[in-house]
């Protein structure tokens, strides 16, 4: 063997892990998205023809209703972001910079809506606000104006904002706590008053956090399927993800239009990401070291107002929907006033051989499998990514970022195309394996994120030390890296498990006929069947996942 060849082989051997990871991601994410994009440009590409270039886009431009729908989607996501800011920023300030008593409870009250799937909150709100709903029963008739307002643009906005303002509050709290006291001292020494301090120092320093949390909320809103699907039809507000869903699932099926709308949705998501990054960079910042910060003492009135805000938001975002959900799940017969209570619906969905139990076991199995696969593959990819450099690493980084930004429904549509294409001879489509694949592709980001954070904090010298003592690559990974990564991977496993247990959009698009997951069971029962069964299942799912989360937290505290 010539030295050159040996050098080449050695190079290939060193590059092998990153090559494998890149190929894996390319196949799992890159290929479906590429195909989706290609099909949106060439509607007949799967039939082997390049005719009709840009046809679907032409139709979007020419159809007034579609243009209106797209504008509405963007406006709606924007409105959700603004409302979330209005609700979240004061909460963040109260938590970070005042002596509000009982901050722990305030923080917990923010976590409840974050942990509640938006579609379940939306379903519960419908139960409260619809004709003959809880509001009618308890208040003896809701004003028609209020009902009309709720089932319109702003009502849908409110429901979505209630489930996402917590992100803003926590981000603002974190950012405010990270602004070193010295920066304020320096301004005060130069004579700045509180309003000058706020306007010239604090708000500008906070802008990146406000933009970043806004980005998160906007992305979540524009790509959210559940709320538009549940409330959009009732509020006569067609929104992008729900429309894509109907184009893929309802007669007449229009894949070219669905893929082009999906591509647009992707474009919006990416544009939002870049614009908000640009804004955040322009707003300045730079990383600040966390430090103690000055607390603004509140008077009795301030404390009351602060707690009033948290209580009001908790009532709207958690207490009300949860009460509606639980009471409905326990309702026996609806008559005048509140219904008699029964556990019958729980028995029905948990009875051996029932559809409910089947859905639950399917979800459990899928979620456990998906979480495990995500953690194994995600942890390894993150490791390879963090410890490599060069163009392949850039590609890998970009690919791994994709599912974080690309709306889930787009990934799901892409997967349908990719595994239904004429050149695929594996029988994956229309089986549960398809769903498992979708879960892994969509939710691997959590595992990647958690591992990334943990790995970048880990010094490579620890690995070098082991390597110098003669440990091979695998040995280094398994006995040095993995043990340190374990807490991050465990957290990622729990998170992935929980989101998969509640996952709606990929499940509803990719489920094989006759099968159900918890989310599709809830959705279908609510729309076509028994509302009480839907709410019983929602309660079971939320209780189950919350218990897993609490067990994990408790376990971690003890460790």
């Amino acid at each position: 063997m010539t030295p050159e060849l040996r050098a080449l082989r050695r190079h290939a051997w060193l590059q092998l892990p990153i090559l494998i990871c890149a190929l894996l991601l390319l196949l799992a994410t890159g290929y479906p998205l590429l195909l989706l994009f290609a099909q949106s440009l060439f509607p007949d590409i799967l039939g082997g023809s390049l005719e009709g270039f840009l046809d679907p886009y032409r139709r979007i431009v020419e159809t007034e209703a579609l243009g209106q729908m797209i504008r509405n989607s963007l406006l709606w996501a924007g409105a959700v972001t603004v409302v979330s800011w209005i609700m979240g920023i004061p909460c963040g300030y109260l938590l970070a910079r005042t002596n509000l008593p009982g901050k722990l409870w305030a923080r917990l009250s923010l976590l409840v809506p974050i942990m509640t799937p938006p579609y379940i909150a939306a379903l519960s709100y419908i139960l409260v606000m619809q004709h003959g709903g809880f509001a009618d029963t308890l208040l003896g008739g809701l004003p028609d104006g209020l009902r009309a307002w709720f089932f319109s643009f702003w009502g849908v906005t409110l429901v979505m904002a209630l489930s996402s303002f917590g992100y803003v509050a926590l981000a603002v709290e974190a950012a405010l706590s990270a602004i070193p006291r010295r920066l304020e001292d320096a301004a005060q020494m130069l004579g700045a008053r509180w309003y000058q301090l706020g306007a010239l120092v604090l708000v500008p320093l906070l802008l990146p956090a406000i933009f970043n949390s806004g980005l998160l909320v906007f992305l979540e809103a524009i790509s959210n399927f559940g709320v538009p699907a549940v409330m959009g039809t009732r509020a006569n507000l067609p929104l992008l993800p729900a429309e894509i869903f109907y184009l893929v699932t309802s007669w007449p099926i229009d894949l070219p239009l669905a893929t082009s709308l999906s591509s647009l949705l992707c474009l919006f998501a990416l544009a939002t990401l870049y614009v908000s990054r640009w804004l955040a960079a322009k707003a300045g910042g730079g990383t600040l070291k966390a430090s103690e910060s000055a607390l603004h003492p509140l008077g009795p009135l301030g404390k009351c107002l602060g707690w009033g805000l948290f209580l009001g938001l908790f009532l709207l975002s958690a207490a009300l929907p949860y009460a509606a959900m639980i009471i409905t799940s326990l309702a026996d017969a609806w008559g005048e006033g509140l219904p008699a209570l029964t556990l019958g619906h729980y028995q029905a969905i948990l009875a051996p051989g029932s559809r409910g139990l089947e859905a639950l076991t399917t979800s459990l199995g899928l979620s456990i499998a998906a979480a495990t696969i995500c953690v194994i593959i995600g942890g390894y990819i993150a490791y390879v990514n963090v410890r490599s450099t060069g163009p392949l690493q850039k590609l890998l980084d970009g690919l791994a970022m994709l599912p974080r930004v690309i709306p889930k429904i787009v990934v799901a549509v892409g997967l349908i195309l990719a595994w239904n294409a004429p050149w695929i001879h594996l029988d994956v489509y229309n089986t549960l394996w398809m769903l498992l694949l979708a879960y892994v592709v969509i939710y691997i980001t959590d595992a990647l994120n958690y591992s990334n954070t943990s790995l970048t904090r880990m010094s490579p010298s620890m690995e070098h030390a082991a390597a110098m003592l003669g440990a091979g690559r695998a040995r280094v990974f398994f006995s040095i890296v993995l043990p340190q990564l374990k807490p991050a991977l465990l957290a990622a496993w729990v998170t992935t498990f929980i989101v998969c247990m509640r996952e709606l959009v990929a499940s509803i698009l990719l489920l094989p006929p006759g099968a159900d997951t918890t989310a599709t069971f809830i959705f279908n029962q609510f729309e076509q069947g028994d509302i009480t069964m839907a709410m019983a299942m929602a309660t079971v799912t939320i209780v189950l996942t919350t218990v897993v989360l609490i067990l994990f937290r408790v376990g971690r505290q003890e460790a």
Binding site: P180, R182, A187, Q188, M189, P204, G285
Partner: protein, 356 residues
């Protein structure tokens, strides 16, 4: 403009721990006072009381004729109104403003017109040689550059007193040297009254008109750098300043001895019966015994053994062991080896003693 500062019997305690015990000092306008001491000595607390971040429990703080802090009279001027400038250890530049924006901030607050503002920003940046960085963001600056900007920010408002809290300790050694002398020049040129906190005595000696050496919440000695070096008044001052040999002595009859063995030519009537002898390291010459030890007039010569040697470039530092477990540090031109018998010589006149 630049003003004088006066502390009278300032005390401060946190919970039950007394951090400052009756601190009194006077700082005439245009002087630089360095608060020097080990960590935990109270120097930062004193500075925080001067800035107005903390209020003193007792005593009075005055700037010119204005009372800034006096609990007994219920006066505590807020730090916004003191008109002081401050340079922080971690720079604390606002990351969302440009360099010029940072310097301009205080002038804006003071309501200085935009034309004069621009001129004064440029002047302040010129003083620290940072004009070409005016439009840069603080995050793109090195530590030394960032601290220059922070100094310009504090000076631009022409503070009554400039306060500096270990401004050089986040910088590397070379930069520290450079910026130290620049700060010294700047303070003299602008005639700014300054209080400078540090634990580094070379900074204190370079910058101070007077040094307040602090220890355990007290001012141990308040003196010019030269006096502090030549005539430390307490055992702590003697051991903290310079690298001195601080050796316990005893008077017995008309003899003054170290460990009852080595006689010292000290006037018994002029010194306390028990205390410590301070011998500066650079006054001690150590030679091999065989070299024909010269008994110079008025010099003390002791015999010992070389314990350790470290090469300093131009000479060797020797740690010599004496009878009775004494150890003395000094310098030698000879590459002595551990175990070599040596002669230890230092001038007997001007030996300095401190009481216990």
């Amino acid at each position: 403009m630049t003003a004088s500062l006066q502390c009278t019997a300032i005390t401060k305690q946190f919970q039950s721990q007394v951090v400052l015990k009756e601190i009194s000092l006077e700082l005439p306008a245009g002087e630089c006072l360095v608060l020097l001491g080990p960590s935990g000595c109270g120097k930062t607390t004193l500075l925080n009381i001067i800035t107005g971040m903390h209020q003193a429990d007792g005593g009075q703080l005055r700037c010119d004729d204005e009372i800034l802090d006096d609990r007994s009279q219920g006066i505590h001027q807020s730090m916004q109104r003191r008109g002081f400038g401050m340079v922080f250890q971690d720079f604390s530049l606002w990351p969302h403003m440009t360099v010029a924006g940072n310097v301009e901030f205080g002038l804006k607050i003071q309501g200085v017109g935009s034309r004069e503002r621009r001129a004064r920003v440029m002047q302040a940046l010129e003083q620290v040689q940072m004009t070409e960085f005016a439009d840069r963001r603080p995050t793109t600056l090195s530590g030394g550059q960032a601290q220059r900007v922070a100094i310009a920010r504090a000076l631009a408002v022409r503070p009554r007193v400039l306060l500096m809290d270990e401004p050089l300790s986040a910088l590397d050694a070379r930069l520290r040297e450079e910026l130290k002398s620049e700060i010294g020049t700047l303070l003299k040129e602008t005639g700014t009254t300054a209080v400078y906190v540090t634990h580094d005595q070379s900074e204190a000696f370079t910058l101070a008109d007077r040094v307040a050496l602090m220890y355990q919440g007290r001012i141990e000695q308040l003196d010019t750098p030269e006096a502090l070096y030549a005539r430390p008044s307490t055992r702590f001052a003697a051991s903290f300043i310079g690298a001195s040999n601080v050796i316990p002595y005893r008077q017995e009859g008309d003899r003054v001895t170290l460990r009852d063995r080595h006689d010292m030519p000290l006037p018994t009537h002029a010194i306390p019966p028990k205390g410590h002898l301070v011998v500066r390291r650079e006054h001690v010459v150590i030679e091999p015994v065989g070299e024909g030890t010269r008994h110079l007039n008025g010099h003390v010569v002791l015999e010992g053994v070389c314990r350790r040697r470290s090469f300093l470039g131009d000479r060797h530092e020797i740690l010599a062991g004496l009878d009775g477990g004494l150890e003395i540090r000094g310098f030698s031109q000879h590459p002595l080896r551990p175990g070599d018998p040596v002669a230890i010589r230092f001038p007997g006149h001007g030996l300095h003693v401190v009481a216990d």
